[in-house]
């Protein structure tokens, strides 16, 4: 864990334990992510990555331990939520509504001006899809709308759960470009994936979820064989 000056951490997780009906999924996670940093959490399916993300996204409360956002331990949750964007594995869009209606609705939730929705439509190249129902969109297009939804209110912390799965090369590159742009604007990005190359492309630091705990944070290139082997063993168990 790089000590560094006690500057404000975007996210600080201390001794985090989460159990569902006596079944411990997270067994004491410690994590500190500096503001503006991009972190990829690698791990096999069912290793608790999604649980960790939901906790960081204020969607569930820890059984033990704590999560502190933006260095403000006592800030009220609604305030924190205003500064967080989430792209979960499942799409949060309403299939029966059109792309524009979806974005207008979510914009309304964050009390944004209508112009913001218009600019988002152009920014993410969704103008041609604006009037089409989300139900008819491809996975890549749906991901793009989900991304626009999550970035609509310019969050300081963006959380993505397996964003790269099921994307074709074009869509993956577009996603990488968008994430890079957000990081450039100082937005902290935390994403999970079970494909180490994706993290490499982003130039993100990496940590691996093993047995309900996180390993040291290291640059993507620094992934040594031992950890990868341990991680694959856990994946197959």
């Amino acid at each position: 864990m790089s000590g560094g000056a006690p500057e404000r951490w975007a996210v600080e997780v201390r001794g985090l334990v989460k159990a569902f009906d006596h079944r411990p999924v997270l067994r004491g996670v410690d994590l500190r992510v500096r503001a503006g940093e991009t972190l990829a959490v690698l791990g096999a399916n069912g290793s608790g990555k999604t649980t960790l993300l939901r906790l960081i996204a204020t969607l569930s409360s820890p059984t033990r331990g704590s999560v502190t956002w933006f260095g403000e331990p006592s800030a009220p949750l609604p305030e924190i939520r205003r500064r967080i964007g989430l792209v979960p594995h499942e799409s949060l869009l309403y299939d029966a509504l059109t792309v524009e209606e979806n974005l207008k609705f979510f914009g309304g939730l964050y009390d944004l001006a209508p112009e913001r929705v218009e600019s988002a439509l152009d920014e993410y190249g969704l103008r041609p899809l604006a009037l089409r129902r989300v139900r008819v969109l491809s996975r890549g297009q749906r991901q793009q709308v989900n991304l626009a939804r999550a970035l609509l209110h310019d969050p300081e912390l963006l959380i993505l759960d397996e964003p790269y799965t099921g994307l074709d090369v074009g869509a993956a590159d577009r996603l990488t470009a968008t994430l890079r742009a957000s990081a450039a604007r100082g937005c902290t990005v935390i994403l999970t994936t079970h494909d180490p190359d994706g993290a490499g492309a982003l130039g993100a630091d990496v940590t691996v979820m093993l047995d309900g705990r996180l390993t040291e944070i290291m640059p993507a290139a620094g992934l040594d064989a031992a950890i990868l082997a341990a991680w694959f063993r856990e994946g197959r168990r």
Binding site: F20, D21, H22, R23, P24, R27
Partner: protein
């Protein structure tokens, strides 16, 4: 805790014997009035159990400590048991005194509706296991008790729709001491048995949870 249970049972035997043998026969109703010595204590015990469910549920939602959840769960079971006792003994008493198994008397209706609500509570426990089910049950436990005054009020309204005989007033004429003593003994006996059963059930639940953890957790 064993002692508590045996004490309760012993007290109950004494109370029942006293009620059936020694207590005087009431003038108007005759023998059936002896059912009171069982009916009234079971009503009181049932409502005590429901209050325990209410307290356990509120504390569980507030503190999120499984101990309160176990207490509420056990108390709800006992609540349903004693409400069933109340309804059956009440019906038999009603049949004996004026030939009707059921009357839409405000208190009887309230107890019947509460019986359904807490059967629902137990069903939620069974069909929605786990933390979410526990929270759902806690809310029902709270709503159930909050609802008592309203149910009672609506039952009174209901009675205006169904004319029916004046109901036996237990607390009406002051009970002579010869009747009051066995009633109090039985009351205490029921409450002691309630406490003993509650402690036993909570212990069982704690062991069951611990075993569940040991089996599933495997840690």
């Amino acid at each position: 805790m064993r002692v508590l249970l045996f004490l309760g049972i012993a007290l109950m035997l004494v109370g029942v014997a006293w009620a059936l043998l020694a207590a005087p026969t009431e003038l108007f109703q005759g023998a059936p009035q002896r059912i009171m010595y069982v009916h009234v204590p079971s009503v009181v015990t049932a409502y005590v159990a429901l209050l325990v469910v209410f307290a356990g549920s509120v504390l569980f939602l507030w503190r999120r400590d499984p101990r309160w959840d176990r207490l509420a769960r056990s108390a709800a079971e006992l609540g349903v048991l004693f409400i069933s006792m109340t309804l059956l003994s009440g019906a038999i008493w009603g049949k004996a005194v004026w030939g009707a198994w059921w009357t839409w008397d405000a208190r009887l209706t309230t107890t019947l509706i509460l019986w359904f609500i807490y059967i629902g509570y137990l069903m939620v426990r069974a069909w929605a296991p786990g933390a979410r089910g526990a929270r759902a049950a806690a809310i029902i436990g709270i709503v159930g008790v909050l609802d008592i005054p309203i149910i009672h009020w609506s039952a009174i309204l209901l009675r205006t729709l169904h004319p029916q005989p004046t109901v036996f007033r237990v607390d009406g004429p002051a009970l002579p001491p010869t009747m009051l003593v066995p009633l109090v003994i039985n009351m205490v006996a029921f409450l002691v048995v309630l406490t003993a059963l509650l402690v036993l059930r909570v212990r069982q639940e704690r062991t069951l949870d611990a075993l569940a953890e040991a089996l599933e957790g495997g840690a």
